[in-house]
């Protein structure tokens, strides 16, 4: 066997996203096909998908996808949930056995809603109530990891190549208007189930190609606001930063992009006065949330998707449009495989957020 240094594995994570602006729901087959083209960018230590619009029959309930390392963890978590939520439905997430995916945890799905009197007593809105509960499960129940907890959406992830993860979770059986995918090549941290992408909190999900050199500064900042970084990877912190900035500070996603991928001061200095003031304010006010290091990310949220590069564009990102469908990917080939002739194909600039949302007529 060749040892480290004798073999070069030419890898780097892969991301891909499909968004139907008209709210049309498509199966997971297209996103699987897209991410599979970039097989060589990952190394089999993580793959995953986020899908939106997949649970219309339960769209008013929080959908929890949870990994358990033991039955004890499941029992403890269910007791925890039962005290705080109405559990409308619970089941194992159906999977397809494949030799390419092994060591699976117990994978369960719950549709829940906060118990009304407890919600009222807590003086919180239901999003905050639910997010606090899931952070607490991840933080304090050993062997239990909430993988996603938004409404009408879910995260499906595992250790393996993304196309095998797709087969494992039978994602061709789900229909969503928005899909993101990730193929992982972990660099600094182990490849493990809960550490695969996407990361999520409520309906916000993040897939990420890159490496955050400001991780610890960002982690310290976000942990001051009640978040807890448990998943041993830098991408988790992006999710919490975006949740904090949008849900608690009320920033728009474009403003978030100007915080986490803030333009250089030299770039700000050549803008007109109003823009200079605005960008300087965001940089100064939220300086701890500036993310340095290379990244390209896709952020899924209810009714939309954002694609963003670091300001130096140190990771690749390609965007394309065909009719009502928008595509983002690490490589053009991963778009061409599912849409041979896009109306438009382009590379967004570093730090320039591409945000797409559902058309007004589209019903959720």
């Amino acid at each position: 066997m060749k040892k480290e240094g004798e073999v070069r594995i030419s890898s780097g994570c892969a991301i891909s996203g499909i968004f139907c602006r008209d709210g049309r729901r498509i199966t997971g087959e297209a996103i699987k096909k897209s991410i599979a083209v970039m097989h060589n960018r990952s190394n089999g230590l993580g793959g995953g998908f986020a899908a939106y619009g997949i649970y219309p029959q339960y769209k008013d309930y929080f959908a929890l996808h949870i990994f358990y390392e033991s039955q004890a963890a499941r029992e403890e978590t269910e007791r925890f949930l039962d005290k705080r939520f109405d559990i409308i439905n619970l089941s194992k997430i159906p999977v397809r056995q494949t030799p390419k995916i092994s060591d699976a945890p117990l994978i369960w799905r719950y549709f829940i809603t906060p118990l009304p009197h407890l919600l009222q007593d807590s003086q919180l809105d239901e999003d905050e109530y639910t997010s606090r509960a899931t952070i607490r499960i991840n933080d304090s129940i050993g062997g239990a990891y909430v993988v996603s907890c938004g409404k009408d959406m879910g995260v499906f992830k595992a250790v393996g190549y993304p196309e095998d993860v797709a087969d494992f979770y039978r994602i061709e059986e789900y229909e969503g208007y928005s899909w993101t995918a990730h193929g992982r090549y972990p660099t600094n941290t182990p490849g493990w189930w809960a550490g695969s992408h996407p990361f999520s909190l409520l309906d916000l999900t993040v897939v990420h190609n890159g490496e955050i050199s400001s991780y610890d500064a960002n982690r310290r900042a976000v942990e001051m606001y009640g978040y807890s970084c448990n998943l041993l990877t830098d991408t988790e912190v992006i999710t919490y930063i975006l949740d904090y900035l949008t849900r608690k500070q009320g920033l728009s996603l474009k403003e978030c992009s100007e915080v986490i991928a803030a333009p250089f001061w030299t770039t700000i200095s050549i803008k007109d006065e109003e823009e200079r003031k605005r960008l300087s304010y965001l940089r100064k006010m939220f300086s701890s949330f500036l993310i340095t290091g290379p990244f390209s990310i896709l952020v899924g949220f209810r009714g939309g998707m954002m694609a963003l590069n670091d300001r130096l564009k140190l990771r690749s990102l390609v965007a394309a449009e065909k009719g009502n469908t928008v595509y983002f990917s690490s490589e053009e080939a991963a778009i061409r495989v599912i849409e041979e002739e896009p109306d438009r194909i382009w590379a967004p600039r570093g730090g320039e957020a591409m945000i797409v949302t559902l058309d007004k007529e589209a019903e959720l």
């Binding site: 030419s10 083209v37 970039m38 060589n40 250089f264 030299t266 770039t267 200095s269 050549i270 130096l312 564009k313 690749s316 390609v318 490589e331 053009e332 080939a333 991963a334 061409r336 495989v337 194909i345 590379a347 600039r349 570093g350």
Partner: protein, 230 residues
């Protein structure tokens, strides 16, 4: 299907069709002609050492990486890090180039790297440029900025020619910008552009129309002497 080794069997002209992200196509090729249809993957024509690679569509990242000789002609656009550390030969792109095109290109004796971009280029064009010529034509981008930020940052030799009269945004004070005279245009740019235009069957005169500016290291600033005597 017949299998053969394209390096050993001496085919002069090869057509590669239905490309979809396959990496290293034409890597280290020394002679012959290769036509590529579809979307070739990263590191296309890297270490190219002679011969010609024609791409019908777009190229992805890191095309012509450390290329040494020959011609890479891309009819569409190129991704990021085009012609990184290129040491010789010609790279012609009819469309746009992404970020970091021509970073640390070099020239040595009879080896002279030439990179021509027909559309616009992204930020960090010609960063740390050590030699050779980069030309950005901005065809169809008239009146707009044809480069991004940090054009030519840290360059210490070579020349970047831009078909525009606009100075690139936040150009470093270690660089000088000068207007290109008609004499220089005829002597340096015309032969390169004539070749470029013939490869893509477009009009050389259209590519030469209007004024050019040149960006070079300021030799009076100390760091131009840091790496190489110029």
């Amino acid at each position: 299907m017949k299998e053969f080794d394209i390096r050993k069997d001496g085919h002069e002209e090869i057509m590669v069709t239905d490309c979809l992200g396959e990496r290293y196509i034409g890597c280290g090729m020394k002679d012959g002609v290769m036509h590529i249809k579809g979307t070739p993957g990263n590191a296309l024509a890297s270490y190219l050492d002679g011969g010609t690679v024609y791409v019908d569509g777009n190229a992805q990242d890191a095309a012509a990486d450390t290329m040494n000789a020959g011609l890479l002609a891309i009819k569409g656009s190129a991704g990021d890090a085009l012609a990184y550390g290129m040491r010789g030969g010609r790279v012609y792109v009819l469309g746009d180039a992404g970020y970091r095109a021509g970073v640390h290109m070099k020239a040595y004796e009879d080896k002279k790297s030439i990179l021509v971009i027909g559309g616009r280029a992204g930020s960090f064009l010609g960063e740390y440029l050590a030699g050779g010529i980069i030309i950005v034509l901005g065809l169809g981008c008239e009146g707009k900025s044809i480069t991004g930020y940090f054009c030519g940052n840290g360059m210490y030799a070579g020349t970047i020619y831009l078909r525009t009269d606009k100075v690139p945004l936040n150009l470093s004070d270690k660089l000088i910008r000068r207007n290109v005279s008609d004499e220089e245009k005829d002597r340096i740019l015309r032969p390169i552009i004539a070749d470029y235009a013939s490869v893509f069957s477009i009009s050389a005169e259209d590519c030469l129309k209007g004024s050019f500016i040149a960006i070079e290291a300021d030799r009076s600033k100390s760091y131009s002497q840091l790496y190489a005597a110029v």
